[in-house]
């Protein structure tokens, strides 16, 4: 029951992009450099986000990624599901239909297993909580809580990137 750390990378990338002006984009290499993570592997995560319509791709020189839609319409859930896939984390293998006391007819098991239902209900609550958190909220919170010195360094780093293009 562990979430891939590429999810963390993806959320950080999206949050960074969400705070940028709409006409600015960053390449996979830029994003990897900014976050100090391996470029080729991060690129895979960005590809998934792009395939799922969360990021927009600009190819060619000066190309890269930007947010495909408004930051308030992208939730943490969108990003998590894009990277992890939207299969349920609990897979019911219907073991109630195994063993010596099981019934032959699968018709007897029309309703879902109660145990699986309980697990799925909890997962839905988790998803709903992640759905609530939009990129806008994260961007706003960062502006308030982050160290002003890092904000400044980030702005300078972005300017450098932008000017060198």
């Amino acid at each position: 029951m562990k979430i891939s750390n590429t999810v963390e990378w993806a959320i950080h990338c999206c949050t960074l992009l969400a705070g940028l002006p709409e006409d600015v984009n960053l390449s996979a290499k830029d994003l990897a450099e900014y976050h100090g993570v391996p470029h080729p592997y991060l690129a895979k995560a960005l590809q998934m986000l792009s395939n799922d319509g969360i990021l927009k791709t600009i190819s060619g020189p000066k190309g890269g990624y930007r947010l495909a839609s408004k930051p308030d319409s992208v939730s943490l859930l969108d990003i998590v599901l894009s990277i992890e896939g939207n299969d349920s984390c609990f897979g019911c293998e219907e073991i109630r239909q195994q063993g010596p006391t099981a019934l032959k007819r699968s018709l007897s098991y029309k309703r879902p297993c109660l145990i699986a239902s309980a697990m799925w209900k909890a997962e839905n609550v988790w998803r709903a909580e992640l759905e609530k958190v939009k990129l806008t909220h994260l961007v706003d919170q960062v502006k308030v809580e982050a160290d002003p010195r890092q904000m400044k360094k980030t702005q300078e780093w972005l300017n450098d990137k932008y000017n060198s293009k």
Copy 2:
């Protein structure tokens, strides 16, 4: 982000044991046979439940497992955490402290990362939902919803086990 299927096995085992009289116990082999799952591997899961005080062990011939406490004091969360461990499913690697814009002093990052906080909050909601579901509820629901024919077969199977000892 996938939960081990031994969690499913463990919950089914605990639910079965929760429905039994207090002085009855089932061996790992019995539980494996009942659920149609491999015995040596299920035994590992039962050991974990035993170590975490969810199941009580009776060793020697006629030994096995029974619930260590009342069914209404054991929740799905207890079982899930016993098998999966109680580490958070989201591991924050503090990537905000990596890259060219990070600050040298780790004092600047006293508050937890906002992204991690959001993920952890969702996980806490998930845990709270699982905490609500006690084995009592599952046992009661099974009595109402399960096919009477399977209940009868189960009773007969249990009687066989009990009489042969």
